[in-house]
Subunit: 350 residues, 2 copies
């Protein structure tokens, strides 16, 4: 195959909602710099837009209008799995959904030399068996041996922050990771930086949740953030990269900030209405920290040696990097053999 | 060529002093995991050890003793440049020297498909012409087109911290870097974290320099740290990656902490002897910051829009991440269009 042919990259995007649209528009902005990248498919849950073949790619500039006009139906799993059947190397599936059934296809993609790029956490934080099959199927570029697709899911933890690449680099180069600790949720970060700031001010818990909801920092139903499951999923991903065989997010303590009485309330709006009745318990937690000269934060941690994962409230000295976080920033600290007492820290918008 | 052949990686290490020995021993520790990595050459300034050919590589486990026993002389530049002449792909030169003349060979390596991995700053912070030739010669993996070597010099800034890879990722994916600011020197970090800690204590300047020297945090002559040139070199590297054509470290203000009167003092020991006489000026700088409720730190910054680089003392609020640094940690903040007011921060031992 001529070298030029080898340098071409063919992309299929599954999921074109908020994240997918943003991704495609970022790609459109840099497309002139990379004329070897070609878009062949945009698939939504309701419709799809496919290039007739790899020599006639879709337009990065007009994909959205073209998809709008398209009358082609949504693709089923088999159609997605077989999409690149006639396309030459190198093919990439970008999964911008948060669907389990797309994640279930990753091993099939990877074995047929289709690379996978995704922020979808389901393949890596769901059942252990799938994670193992994905890992077996992916090409590990430091130890090549077979024809496989590459796997990148950097943004499944810490969004654009270099978290997974940093962790893998540490491990690949022989460092021993001892502990990972951090604030893994932009929503939780925003809530606690405002509820219990270092300077001692801060509003009532329910008021801060309402403020975060209005500012668009929470899910439509804030309980989807407050239950801690999103943080737990991210911990599972990092722990498995560290070599721990964590079965699921049910395998370790995850503290939910939803009052038990409000777990079954029907709607997010009803939940918000009743939340002020439960402010006193969060106020108590905050005051207890203040008495010790500390602040409370919602963190996740992995003790690699003890194979212990934990998600929930912790108290931190005011001078601790986790205490001083701003806005909705994430912070992830890697404690390793090489770095010793002072961890390698990655911090920024999540 | 059979696929197995393509997966083999051949390494030549130039420079086997402190850094080189550490590198080779790290590689030895992970070698069992990567049986496709082969060591073909270890070259020092006084002698060398070469494998007879690529099918009979050197031992990662006994290279040090084998080099000791070797009677082969040091290699000259032509011999290093042509070392991989008969080796199949993929060859890698690991330059662990800090020599300009080895850096001058990088374009030649890269054009002949030999990859370059190095912490040596000379090729990237020296004269602009060499940097451009190196950039032209390197394979840019997002935009391939020709047979070229890969180029990795991550540890030329921030040692093991993911600084260059993070910056390149931001740029490659279309983010606009506005400003980079940080503490780029472990020595300067250690000095100022002890001289002007957030809690207001801290010893005399000359005493802190002496303490740092004893603890092995400075060069044998501490003036090689205090002149700010090492930080300036790192800024030049990052600025050039941002697209700024900085001619050299002389193109922007670099504040030296060496009292003018002591610049020409002959030895590092004599310098240390006389330094206490100049403590008052640093004390003044520290007190001025304290009056404003701040602390003083030695930082480097790049304002990309204004094409302005600067190295020297700056005052920071006590709550600023740069003020709260510990030990000899580096911290690098990337302010970008996407990240907005809160930068992406990478922090840890430098």
């Amino acid at each position: 195959m001529p070298r030029e042919e080898l340098n071409q990259i063919y992309i299929a995007v599954v999921g074109a909602g908020g994240v997918g649209r943003h991704f495609l528009n970022q790609l459109a902005a840099i497309a002139p710099k990379y004329p070897n990248i070609h878009l062949l498919l945009v698939a939504r849950s309701t419709k799809s837009l496919a290039a007739p073949d790899h020599t006639k790619p879709l337009s990065f500039q007009t994909w959205e209008a073209d998809l709008e006009k398209s009358t082609a139906p949504a693709l089923d799993n088999d159609q997605i799995a077989n999409f690149f059947y006639k396309t030459p190397r190198h093919c990439v599936i970008v999964d911008n959904t948060s669907n389990q059934d797309v994640a279930d296809l990753y091993p099939q993609f990877l074995y047929s030399e289709v690379s996978v790029v995704t922020p979808n956490k389901k393949g890596f934080s769901g059942y252990l068996g799938l994670w193992k099959r994905i890992e077996d199927a992916a090409f590990h570029h430091l130890y090549p041996g077979q024809v496989r697709g590459l796997l990148y899911h950097e943004s499944s933890v810490g969004a654009g922050l270099p978290v997974i690449s940093t962790l893998k680099d540490l491990i690949d180069t022989g460092d021993k990771v001892q502990k990972i600790e951090g604030v893994f949720s932009g929503t939780m970060s925003f809530l606690f930086n405002n509820f219990a700031p270092v300077d001692g001010k801060g509003g009532k818990w329910s008021a801060e949740v309402a403020k975060a909801k209005e500012a668009g920092y929470t899910e439509p139903d804030p309980r989807d953030d407050l239950n801690g499951v999103d943080v737990a999923r991210k911990l599972v991903i990092l722990a498995r990269i560290c070599g721990l065989e964590i079965e699921s997010t049910d395998s370790f303590p995850v503290q939910s900030l939803i009052p038990v009485e409000l777990e079954s309330v029907k709607s997010g709006d009803k939940f918000m209405e009743k939340l002020p009745q439960y402010d006193s318990s969060m106020e108590e937690v905050k005051n207890e920290a203040v008495k010790e000269g500390k602040v409370v934060r919602f963190v996740g941690s992995i003790d690699v040696g003890k194979k212990a994962l934990k998600v929930g409230l912790e108290k931190f000295d005011k001078g601790h990097p986790i205490a001083g976080l701003k806005g909705s920033d994430n912070i992830i600290s890697f404690y390793t053999e090489r770095y010793g007492a002072n961890p390698l820290i990655v911090q920024g918008a999540g």
